[in-house]
């Protein structure tokens, strides 16, 4: 039932000679198909939590179970494989591959999954159409606006049919109109495909759209209102 289970995770970074405790014993349960926002000020530990849940970083203590997989028991290749099939990422800075076109960026994940060329192209085009980028398949990232690049990133995150999409401040670099449009697309995908979305954000618009809002302060859960408390859509 739970797509993510975090059990008392902690993480400390070394910044020069100073040890910074980014996450201090957080436990979380995220239900499949939910639309959750981790909110909090910069440096509160939101991104670290997302990275740990996505297997990009490992906790110093505690356990993360992602869709039934114990991340602490997996090596780098197994984690990469898990991310490939179960996790979609959307980053604040879009992070598209500059030498690939919009279509190829979306296709890339399916290429890694071993999907054949025709199916790959059909699925990539369909999802680009869904996010409103029909006719822009061959544009390279440099030829797209910030909002369009983030739509490609969302398409890339969703095309592999992941169990969860982890979006780290996805609207931070976008104007409010573009941000809202993108958020609506993600909400629609959540409802249509039952994909779980977990955001880190300090954007009120995202918080307003989340069905569950978890406030993070100083690496701890400050407030968790549970499901369906804050649906303003």
């Amino acid at each position: 039932m739970y797509i993510v289970e975090c059990k008392n995770i902690t993480k400390t970074y070394q910044q020069g000679n100073v040890a910074v405790q980014a996450v201090r014993g957080i436990s979380l349960l995220i239900t499949k198909g939910s639309f959750v926002a981790l909110a909090g000020p910069s440096g509160s530990g939101k991104t670290t939590i997302l990275n740990i849940i996505g297997g990009l970083d490992s906790p110093d203590a505690g356990e993360v179970i992602l869709d039934g997989n114990y991340l602490s028991k997996m090596n780098q290749s197994e984690l990469a494989n898990l991310r490939l099939h179960k996790v979609g990422f959307v980053f604040q800075a879009y992070n598209l591959i500059p030498v690939l076109s919009a279509l190829e960026n979306v296709e890339y994940v399916m290429l890694l999954q071993g999907v054949d060329t025709i199916e790959r192209q059909d699925r990539a085009k369909a999802i680009l159409d869904d996010v409103g980028l029909e006719g822009k398949y061959s544009r390279r990232p440099a030829e797209l606006s910030g909002g369009q690049q983030q739509r490609v990133a969302v398409a890339r995150a969703l095309v592999s049919n992941p169990s969860i999409v982890l979006a780290d401040e996805p609207t931070a670099n976008l104007d409010s109109g573009t941000g809202l449009a993108l958020l609506k697309i993600m909400k629609e995908m959540n409802e249509k495909r039952n994909v779980t979305f977990l955001f880190s954000t300090h954007d009120h618009m995202v918080m307003d759209h989340a069905r569950r809002l978890i406030q993070i302060r100083d690496g701890q859960v400050a407030d968790d209102q549970g499901e369906e408390n804050t649906d303003a859509s």
């Binding site: 990469a80 490939l84 994940v109």
Partner: protein
């Protein structure tokens, strides 16, 4: 994706490709030059005196004893005439003697040669600088090395007294007239050698129809091993000739082989230095490309690319650059070498030095599959090895740290 990444920074990729191409071109040209000059050197040396093969009594090479002879030269000649690959052969007999002019006396190697056969085996006839070459009916005429003639202070028509020991232990003494003065360019040869007709030598030194060497010239260097094997087999099975040994040019001129080896080694030291310089420039390019894209690698890993796949992609990029460089290098190297193979190269001021080694003034590089494949092979291996380090560095990256890279 690897191919597109190659052209992401075209200027840098082109410079790297040119560096690899330069190294390949240089190696192909230099190796062809070395191989070409070795072939010229070997051909000049065998043509000058030793021939491709010599048949002589066992131990003659070490002891140079006048009594260690080939007793049936005509029978050996018949064997050679029936051996495929033999182009020509001649007989020689040698004795160390005192050579005196009116004013001076020197020790020299008196060599009895068959004037007609000798001309088909060695370049002696072409080396005459003064006077003329021996003819078939000459008797007490001699050809003297340029430096020996100078030391003895003799010229054409002057008389020389030869004093040595005959094969039977008697004193061998005669007077010869200087008919020709030769100059090979090899000082040792020109300082120590005097040639007289073989029949006259056999009379003076009581050789009784025997000789010391049967000098063989093959159709080419490649025929030598086969001729050697055939002749050895035949000689072994004939009782009157099984005391003879067959020596090829590598055994006759061990110094030349050593010189070639030395030159190869010094050449390879230069090549290694060249390749190390190129390898560092390539390493720098590959490392720069990786540092610049560390963040991107983090993203690729985040979206599911395994470290192994990323390494493969980078190796593919490096291999593409390397192969392009090698291809350009092979084309450029082959064209340049081919041009000089046709026209030759004269390095001004070195003709005297080259002559010392029996080399002509103009050297022709020898383009071959060997020089191309060695040149291209060395550069490929070194470049790909150089690319391994940055590629495997990527394997150690962690997604979060990589994505934080600026």
């Amino acid at each position: 994706m690897a191919w597109r990444n190659v052209w992401r920074n075209p200027r840098r990729s082109i410079l790297t490709i040119l560096a690899i191409a330069f190294a390949t071109t240089t190696l192909i040209f230099m190796l062809s030059w070395q191989f070409g000059s070795y072939e010229t050197m070997i051909n000049s040396a065998v043509k000058l005196h030793t021939g491709h093969l010599q048949i002589e009594a066992k131990e003659y090479r070490d002891k140079k004893n006048i009594r260690l002879t080939v007793n049936s030269p005509k029978a050996v000649g018949r064997v050679l005439e029936n051996t495929p690959g033999v182009a020509a052969y001649t007989f020689r007999a040698n004795a160390f003697s005192m050579v005196s002019s009116e004013k001076r006396t020197y020790g020299a190697l008196v060599s009895g040669i068959d004037p007609l056969r000798e001309a088909s085996v060695s370049s002696l006839k072409d080396l005459i600088r003064k006077g003329s070459y021996l003819s078939a009916d000459d008797t007490n005429q001699a050809m003297v090395g340029r430096l020996l003639a100078k030391n003895l202070q003799v010229d054409l028509g002057d008389e020389l007294v030869l004093l040595g020991q005959g094969r039977d232990g008697s004193i061998a003494a005669t007077v010869v007239e200087v008919k020709g003065i030769f100059s090979s360019g090899q000082d040792e040869f020109d300082r120590q050698t005097i040639h007289i007709p073989l029949l006259f030598f056999q009379q003076v030194y009581t050789m009784a129809g025997t000789v010391h060497n049967v000098v063989v010239f093959g159709e080419s260097l490649d025929h030598v091993p086969q001729i050697k094997r055939s002749v050895k087999t035949v000689l072994k099975n004939q009782s009157d000739m099984n005391g003879l040994s067959v020596l090829d040019w590598t055994e006759l001129m061990p110094g030349l082989i050593e010189a070639i080896k030395m030159d190869l080694v010094s050449g390879f030291v230069f090549y290694i230095i060249l390749i190390i310089v190129v390898a560092f420039s390539i390493l720098n390019t590959f490392l720069m490309a990786i540092f610049e894209r560390t963040r991107e690698f983090g993203v690729l890993m985040a979206i599911g690319t395994t470290p192994g796949r990323l390494t493969k992609c980078l190796l593919l990029e490096s291999a593409s650059i390397t192969m392009l460089g090698i291809l350009v290098g092979i084309v450029a190297g082959s064209l340049i070498t081919w041009y000089f193979q046709v026209h030759g190269i004269v390095i001004s001021g070195t003709s005297e030095l080259l002559r010392q080694y029996g080399l002509p003034e103009r050297i022709y590089p020898q383009l071959s599959c060997l020089s191309v494949s060695i040149g291209a092979g060395i550069v490929s291996i070194i470049t790909l090895l150089t690319a391994l380090y940055p590629s495997f560095r990527v394997k150690r990256l962690r997604p979060v740290e990589a994505m934080l890279a600026v």
